[in-house]
C-alpha cells in the first residue's frame, strides 16, 4: 500500500471543515452535517484499512514536505502510524464518527449547526495531527489546535456569558500548562543540540536521549508533564474541565472525555523512552495521578449536575491513567484510555440524550424515573455505568484492575490504597447518578414531562455501539489468569515486553477480589442512599461540613481566584490605568507633539500654490545644472 494514504486521514476532515466553512450555509444544515460525518467516516475507514495493513512491528511514514530547515535542524510535516498511533487513530476517528452521527440528531434543532460541524471537523483534524505527527513540534501544533477547538466549542453558545467565560477559562488554564510544555520542548532541543543532535523526530529522539544527563531529563519530563496536567486536567490545573461542560454534550463526550483530554497520556506514552529515564518525574506523576483520582472522585460524590458528575469522573479516571504512567505501565495507561473512551463517551452521549429529552435540563434533582420513557438510553447507560464502576467482565474492570494491580505489584501500597478507595467512590457516585436519573419518581416539571421522548435512531445507535464497546473492548487486555492480554502483545514493539509481574497469580486474584468488594460496597451504599424507594427524598436535605466542601469542590475555584486571578487583575489594572496612559502614551504623544512642533514651522513652505512648487523645482534644477556647468568648465 502507498504510505501517501496517511496524509488523507487528517486531510479529509480538514477538507470537510473548509468546504462547510465556505459552502455550509448554502448546502443547508443537514447536508453540511452529513458531509462532516462522511468526512470523519472516510477517515475512520482509512484508519481501519491502515490498522489492518499494519504489521506487528511496522511503522508507516508519510513525509508531506519539509516544514522547517535551518542548518542541520529539520522539522518535517510528516505523519507516522505505529501500533500506539493506530490505537489512538481508531479511537479518535471511530468514536469521532459515532459522535458526529449522534450530533446530527442532537444539534438538529440548533440554528448554528453548520458552525458546530466546522469546529468538530477541525477538531478531528488537529487531533489526528496530534497523534499522527512524527515529531514533537507537529504534536505541539495538534496540541494547540485541539485546545483552540475546545475553546471554540465550549463557548459554542456564546450568547450566554457563562459559556464564553468557561471557554476562556479552559483556554487560559491550558496556556499555563502549555507554557511548561513548550519550555520543555525548548530545553530538549537546546540540550540535545549541545550534544550535536538537532532533531525533534520521535525516532531520532529515542535513539539519542541517552546522551542527556539524568537531571536534564527530569527537568524536561517534568516540564512536559506540566503541559499534560493542563491538557489532561490533573491537579492543580483540572479546574477548567468541569466548567467545560458548558459546551454541547457531544463535545463533552468527544473532546472532554474520549479524546483531547487523553492527549496528555498519549504524549507521555509517546515519549515513554524519555519518561522511563526520569524516575523522579514518574514518582511525581504517580502521586499527582492518584491524588487527582481521589480528589475528583470526592467532588463527584455530591454534584447534582448530570454532566458535572461525569466531568469529575473523567478527571478522576484521567488520574488513574497518570497513576499507571507513574508506575511506568504505559500500556496499561493507554488501555485505560481506550476503554475509558468507550464507556465515558457512552455515558456522556447518554446524558446528552437525557438532557435532550428534558429540553436542556441538567439538574439530576429534577430527573428520575426516566427508565420507562427512554429504555434504549437507560440500558446503554446501565452498561456504561457497570463498565466504569468496574463490574467484572466489563471494559472498566479489566483496565482499572490492571492499573491497580500494576500499582500494587510495584509496591506502592499507599497509592494503591488511594486507588482502591477511589474505585469504591466511583462505583458509588455513578450508581447514585443512575438511580437519581432513571429510577424513582419523575421530578421533572409538567412541561418537560409532556415532551419526554426517546431520542431518534441517529442518537441511539451510536449509544448502542458504544455500549457494546464498553463491555468487549476490555476483553482485549484480560489478565494472565483468564485468557491473557492481546493488548500487551500488540503494544510490545512500542513499550517493550509487558512489565514483569512481581506478584503471583493468587496475589493478583486477591487484589482483584478486594477491589470488587470495595466496588460492591460502593454500589450498595448508593442503592441504600438513592436507589431504595423513598431514599432520595431523605437525601435531598442531608448535609454536613464534608458534604458542603465536596459540593463546593473544595473551594478550589475560589482559592485560585483569590491567590492568582485577583492579584493578576490588580497588576493589570495598575498597568492599564497608570503605566499605559502616562508612560507609554506619554512617550508616543510626546514624539507626536515634537514632530508637530517642527511641522508647524516647516509647513510654511507648503503654500498649496502649484506655481510656487514649480519655482522650487526650477531652483533645484538650476542648482544641478549650475553644478554640472561648473564641473565642465
Amino acid at each position: 500500500m502507498s504510505t501517501d494514504l496517511l496524509r488523507w486521514i487528517p486531510l479529509i476532515p480538514l477538507l470537510g471543515s473548509v468546504i462547510n466553512l465556505f459552502f455550509g450555509r448554502a448546502m443547508g444544515k443537514q447536508r453540511a452535517g452529513a458531509l462532516a460525518s462522511a468526512a470523519v467516516g472516510a477517515s475512520f475507514a482509512l484508519a481501519c484499512y491502515l490498522f489492518w495493513q499494519l504489521p506487528a512491528t511496522g511503522i508507516f511514514r508519510d513525509l508531506v514536505y519539509t516544514w522547517i530547515q535551518s542548518g542541520s535542524f529539520q522539522v518535517n510535516l510528516a505523519f507516522q502510524v505505529d501500533a500506539l498511533t493506530a490505537v489512538m487513530l481508531l479511537v479518535v476517528t471511530g468514536i469521532g464518527f459515532l459522535i458526529h452521527l449522534y450530533s446530527l440528531g442532537y444539534m438538529g434543532h440548533d440554528a448554528d449547526m453548520v458552525r458546530f460541524f466546522i469546529y468538530l471537523n477541525l477538531f478531528i483534524f488537529f487531533m489526528l495531527v496530534l497523534i499522527m505527527g512524527d515529531n514533537l513540534l507537529l504534536l505541539f501544533v495538534g496540541w494547540e489546535g485541539v485546545g483552540l477547538c475546545s475553546y471554540l466549542l465550549i463557548g459554542f453558545w456564546y450568547h450566554d456569558d457563562n459559556n464564553t467565560i468557561a471557554g476562556n477559562k479552559a483556554f487560559i488554564v491550558n496556556r499555563i500548562g502549555d507554557l511548561g510544555f513548550i519550555i520543555g520542548i525548548f530545553v530538549l532541543v537546546a540540550e540535545l543540540g549541545r550534544q550535536g543532535i538537532w532533531t525533534l523526530d520521535f525516532g531520532e529522539l529515542q535513539k539519542h536521549v541517552k546522551m542527556l544527563s539524568p537531571g536534564t531529563i527530569t527537568l524536561i519530563t517534568f516540564l512536559l508533564f506540566i503541559g499534560a496536567t493542563g491538557k489532561s486536567a490533573q491537579l492543580p490545573l483540572f479546574v477548567w474541565l468541569p466548567d467545560a461542560m458548558a459546551g454541547p454534550t457531544p463535545v463533552s463526550a468527544l473532546i472532554h472525555a474520549a479524546t483531547m483530554v487523553t492527549a496528555g497520556v498519549y504524549m507521555t506514552a509517546r515519549l515513554h523512552f524519555l519518561f522511563a529515564l526520569a524516575p523522579a518525574t514518574l514518582a511525581v506523576i504517580a502521586v499527582i495521578g492518584a491524588a487527582t483520582a481521589f480528589f475528583a472522585a470526592t467532588i463527584a460524590l455530591t454534584q447534582n449536575d448530570i454532566k458535572k458528575v461525569l466531568a469529575y469522573s473523567t478527571v478522576s479516571q484521567l488520574g488513574y491513567m497518570f497513576l499507571a504512567v507513574g508506575m511506568g505501565a504505559f500500556g496499561a495507561a493507554i488501555f485505560h484510555v481506550f476503554t475509558h473512551a468507550f464507556f465515558k463517551a457512552c455515558l456522556f452521549l447518554g446524558s446528552g440524550s437525557v438532557i435532550h429529552a428534558l429540553g436542556g435540563e441538567q439538574d439530576m434533582r429534577k430527573m428520575g424515573g426516566l427508565k420507562t420513557h427512554m429504555p434504549k438510553t437507560y440500558w446503554t447507560y446501565v452498561v456504561a455505568t457497570l463498565a466504569i464502576a468496574g463490574v467484572p467482565f466489563t471494559a472498566g474492570f479489566f483496565s482499572k484492575d490492571l492499573i491497580l494491580w500494576q500499582t500494587f505489584s510495584h509496591g506502592a501500597g499507599i497509592l494503591w490504597g488511594v486507588g482502591l478507595l477511589t474505585a469504591g467512590m466511583t462505583a458509588f457516585y455513578m450508581f447514585r447518578q443512575l438511580f437519581m436519573v432513571f429510577h424513582g419518581e419523575c421530578r421533572a416539571d409538567d412541561h418537560a414531562k409532556a415532551h419526554l421522548h426517546e431520542s431518534p435512531a441517529v442518537m441511539t445507535w451510536p449509544l448502542m455501539i458504544l455500549a457494546v464497546g464498553a463491555i468487549f473492548t476490555g476483553w482485549l487486555g484480560a489478565p494472565e489468569y483468564l485468557w491473557g492480554s492481546r493488548w500487551d502483545h500488540w503494544l510490545a514493539p512500542i513499550f517493550g515486553p509487558a512489565a514483569e509481574h512481581h506478584g503471583t497469580v493468587s496475589t493478583e486474584l486477591l487484589v482483584t477480589a478486594l477491589t470488587l468488594a470495595v466496588v460492591a460496597a460502593g454500589i450498595y451504599l448508593a442503592y441504600l442512599m438513592y436507589g431504595k424507594p423513598g431514599a432520595q427524598t431523605a437525601q435531598q436535605t442531608a448535609n454536613g461540613i464534608f458534604y458542603d466542601i465536596s459540593l463546593n469542590k473544595y473551594y478550589v475555584d475560589e482559592i485560585y481566584d483569590f491567590v492568582f486571578v485577583r492579584p493578576f487583575t490588580a497588576l493589570a489594572t495598575f498597568f492599564a490605568s497608570i503605566v499605559d496612559p502616562w508612560v507609554i502614551d506619554g512617550a508616543v504623544n510626546g514624539m507626536a507633539a515634537t514632530v508637530r512642533g517642527f511641522s508647524t514651522v516647516w509647513r510654511g513652505l507648503q503654500t498649496g500654490n502649484v506655481q510656487h512648487y514649480a519655482a522650487m523645482f526650477l531652483v533645484g534644477a538650476l542648482a544641478l545644472l549650475a553644478y554640472y556647468l561648473g564641473q565642465l568648465s
Binding site: R603, Q606, T607, G608, N609, Q611, A614, L618
Partner: protein, 100 residues
C-alpha cells in the same frame, strides 16, 4: 550650414520662455499651453540631434513625445473643465487648499 549649437540655443530659449509662462501666468489653460511649448522645444532638440547624428531614433522619440503630450493635454483639459465647474475660476493661486 547651421551648426547644431544654434538649434540647441534656439530650443533652450523657447524652453525658458515656456518656463516663464508656467511660472507667471495665472490661467491654467495658458500654463498648459506653456508646457506644450516646452515640450516642443525639446522636440526641436530631438530632431536636430537626429539630423546631425544621422539617426532616426530622435524622430521616433518625438513621435512618442507627441503621444504623451496628446494624452497630457487631454487629461489636463479634462481636469481644468471639472475644476472650473466647481470653482468658476482658472487661477491656480485660488486653488491652494491642498496643503498642511
Amino acid at each position: 550650414m547651421i551648426a547644431l549649437h544654434y538649434y540647441l540655443i534656439l530650443s533652450a530659449v523657447v524652453f525658458a520662455i515656456g518656463v516663464v509662462g508656467v511660472l507667471i501666468r495665472r490661467n491654467l489653460i495658458v500654463i498648459l499651453m506653456s508646457i506644450e511649448l516646452m515640450l516642443n522645444a525639446v522636440n526641436l532638440t530631438f530632431i536636430a540631434f537626429s539630423r546631425y547624428l544621422g539617426s532616426t531614433d530622435g524622430q521616433v522619440a518625438v513621435f512618442f513625445v507627441m503621444a504623451v503630450a496628446a494624452a497630457e493635454a487631454v487629461i489636463g483639459l479634462a481636469i481644468i473643465i471639472s475644476v472650473y465647474r466647481h470653482r468658476q475660476s482658472l487661477d491656480p493661486q485660488e486653488m491652494q487648499l491642498l496643503k498642511w
